[in-house]
């Protein structure tokens, strides 16, 4: 039966073509997308501020160019000369968005009464809006932080000069200031020669104030640091290890391909037997013999089918699982040429893919046993696989609690989430561990295998 199915598969040129081309194409696409994707989105920038514009703070200047460098480090800059060019670049899709820096940005930044503003131009498509918002806002937040750090550094320098003494650098300010720390010593030197009285008391108060001010301004640097960055992030990873996004994307792509190919092949294999009407020939049992059994030509006993239902289902499952396993391994190896994967864990990849393929194959034969023809089986397989993949990728907290519980149950009773977790554990050492996912997949294989057996009870 396996040889027959392989022969039929080999003669289905379109299907074989898809099975060969699909992993190569997907591996190339994903590999190129991950390895050569522009990490920074293209953004048109119209800078209307004069060259060398600077912000003056406490008599010192901060080059606005520092602000731009913070902003531009997050994006790939495409310079434009006019606002119209910026709009055209966004409309044509040449750039994701455009940023217009006004001529008065330095003046606004210098003032303490009004906020500096820049203009962001982008298209109205929902996904793009979301991406532009998050990207540009993240870039702005980073740039603001860098500017804030510069201003904080400047303020700390000025305060340090006040405490330690020296030149403030402010036009008109006195040079070689003694500094707050030295004032108490100077005053106490004067007090030694001062007779008791109101003058001595007043000088003592000046010395105490200078000492107090020096001590407290000494910690101003830390205070300013806290004010500029009030919240610092300390990450705690509860399970597994950090999974790089590109490695996770590889796992998602391979597991989805494994599911589609395996479910479709298994469902189609069983449905084809029904469509060709060969199922009745394979599974029929002759009547009870009154005078023993045995054929003149055949050795099969009367009352026994040519192939048992269990054997037929197992054969279709193994064929689909084998083909999809080879395809998924080829994909993983192909993508591995672009993305750094731990080849030393290849045996675990194989284990995870094999368990996933068995579970998907069992789901496929269950679908095939219910469907009456190949087209219906294929459609059913697609209709089931797509939402399964989508639901498995919904993160906790992204939807209402009740709905997420429903999604968890669906992910529990269908094999995609378990296969994804198994492959992620095998490739990226993520959690839950590989063993739990493998047990889950084997349990689902038994469950769907049983359902397929029930579905095959009625032959015609």
């Amino acid at each position: 039966m396996l040889g027959k199915d392989l022969r039929i598969l080999a003669r289905s040129r379109l299907l074989v073509g898809v099975l060969v081309v699909y992993p190569i194409a997907v591996a190339l696409l994903i590999g190129l997308a991950i390895s050569r994707a522009p990490s920074k989105p293209k953004v048109a920038v119209l800078n209307l501020s004069p060259p060398g514009a600077s912000v003056e703070l406490g008599g010192r200047r901060v080059d606005v160019g520092h602000y731009y460098s913070g902003l531009f480090s997050q994006v790939q800059v495409v310079p434009v000369a006019t606002r119209a060019q910026a709009v055209a670049a966004v409309e044509s899709g040449r750039v994701l968005a455009a940023i217009v820096i006004p001529a008065n940005i330095a003046t606004r930044l210098s003032s303490v009464t009004s906020q500096a503003q820049i203009e962001v131009i982008y298209n109205g498509e929902a996904l793009e809006q979301s991406f532009v918002h998050s990207t540009i806002e993240a870039a702005l937040a980073q740039a603001n932080l860098e500017l804030s750090d510069q201003i904080r550094g400047l303020a700390a320098t000025v305060i340090g000069d006040l405490v330690k003494g020296g030149s403030l650098g402010v036009p008109g300010a006195p040079q070689n200031l003694p500094g707050l720390r030295r004032i108490p010593g100077i005053v106490h030197g004067v007090l030694r020669h001062e007779p008791p009285g109101a003058q001595r008391t007043a000088l003592s108060q000046v010395a105490e104030f200078a000492e107090f001010a020096a001590q407290n301004l000494g910690i101003s640097g830390r205070v300013l640091q806290t004010v500029s960055r009030p919240i610092a992030v300390r990450s705690t990873l509860l399970r597994g290890r950090r999974t790089p996004l590109d490695a996770y994307a590889v796992v998602v792509a391979v597991s989805i391909s494994l599911m589609f190919v395996c479910v479709l092949l298994a469902a189609g294999g069983i449905a084809l037997e029904r469509e060709e009407h060969t199922l009745s020939r394979l599974l029929r049992r002759g009547p009870a013999s009154a005078a023993g059994s045995g054929h003149a030509r055949g050795r099969r006993g009367v009352g026994r089918p040519l192939v048992s239902r269990e054997l037929l289902l197992a054969e279709k499952l193994l064929l689909a699982a084998g083909c999809s396993l080879v395809l998924a391994l080829a994909m993983l190896a192909g993508i591995g040429a672009f993305v750094g994967l731990e080849w030393s864990r290849a045996a675990l990849w194989l284990l995870a893919l094999a368990a996933g393929a068995l579970a998907f194959g069992a789901l496929g034969i269950a679908i095939g046993a219910l469907a009456r023809e190949v087209r219906a089986a294929s459609l059913l397989a697609f209709l089931l696989s797509l939402p399964l993949a989508f639901l498995a990728l919904v993160p906790a907290g992204a939807v209402a609690g009740g709905l997420y519980d429903v999604i968890r149950v669906i992910s529990l009773v269908f094999p995609y989430k378990a296969a994804l977790q198994a492959l992620d554990a095998a490739v990226n050492r993520s959690s839950p561990g590989l063993a739990i996912s493998l047990v889950h997949l084997l349990a689902l294989t038994v469950l769907f295998g049983g359902l397929a057996r029930l579905g095959l009870r009625r032959v015609e």
């Binding site: 060709e276 009407h277 009745s280 009547p287």
Partner: protein
């Protein structure tokens, strides 16, 4: 007539609340050519598929007196073949599944019997309807069965292919094979069957020769006696038209009298 080769007693089949067959008794003897006729939905295919072992009956017993040869060959109405395999590959597959002692000999023998030797390497999907049905029958004969059960074997064939098919089936019968077939074409039952079973609404309402059926319906038996069942024909209505028309009329009258 002696002991029947195949005996079915009290066969019933239920699909939920619907009764497809009710207490049907069928006996088939060695060398007999038995036709099952009846209106649409009478239960012909259900009965044949139960006799062939495709589905179990809800009630009743089936007994096959095997003797030297054994088993029942099944030829479903729609050809049960792998269309992307060649004729020989289909035969080889089922010969292996049957566990034949000499698979090569079995395939060659069947190709010779069915006259498909020249088409052995051709894919089934490229065969004509008639040749496809011959392969379908060849698969039914692979295990050298004592009884061959055919469900409407000529329904999708043109008159020429139909005639060739019946010549082949008559040849099997002449060589001692027991053949049981269903048909919509009453004239085929008249021409080829030794015995006719009439099913209606899941019940067996008549079992006898074509002449006896005509007599039961009040038709002139002499008309049937004059008609030569073996006369070659290009199709219904061309040979012995009087006898065939009488038989059709008798069959319809027979069913009408019984309220079908």
């Amino acid at each position: 007539m002696g002991e029947p080769l195949l005996a079915a007693r009290g066969i019933a089949k239920r699909y939920g609340a619907r009764e497809a067959l009710r207490g049907v008794d069928v006996e088939v003897h060695v060398g007999e050519l038995v036709a099952i006729i009846g209106p649409n939905g009478a239960g012909k295919t259900t009965l044949l598929s139960i006799l062939a072992g495709v589905q179990p009956p809800s009630a009743g017993t089936l007994t096959l007196a095997t003797g030297g040869s054994a088993g029942i060959g099944w030829v479903p109405q729609q050809s049960a073949l792998y269309s992307r395999l060649t004729v020989a590959e289909n035969l080889e597959l089922f010969v292996h599944l049957e566990g034949a002692s000499d698979p090569h000999d079995a395939v060659q023998s069947m190709l010779a019997q069915t006259g498909l030797g020249e088409r052995a390497g051709e894919r089934v999907e490229r065969l004509s309807g008639g040749n496809r049905q011959r392969v379908n029958i060849a698969l039914g004969l692979l295990s050298d069965p004592a009884v061959l059960v055919l469900d409407e074997p000529s329904s999708s064939l043109d008159p020429r292919q139909r005639e060739r098919l019946w010549q082949f089936i008559l040849g099997l019968s002449e060589r001692g094979r027991c053949v049981l077939f269903s048909t919509h074409n009453v004239s085929e039952a008249e021409r080829y069957a030794d015995r006719v079973l009439v099913l209606a609404d899941g019940e067996l309402i008549f079992s006898g020769s074509p002449v006896e059926l005509a007599r039961a319906a009040g038709a002139d038996p002499a008309a049937f006696a004059q008609a030569d069942p073996a006369a070659p024909s290009a199709g219904a209505g061309e040979a012995s038209p009087r006898g065939r028309l009488d038989f059709e009329g008798a069959f319809v009258e027979f069913l009408r009298e019984r309220g079908h």
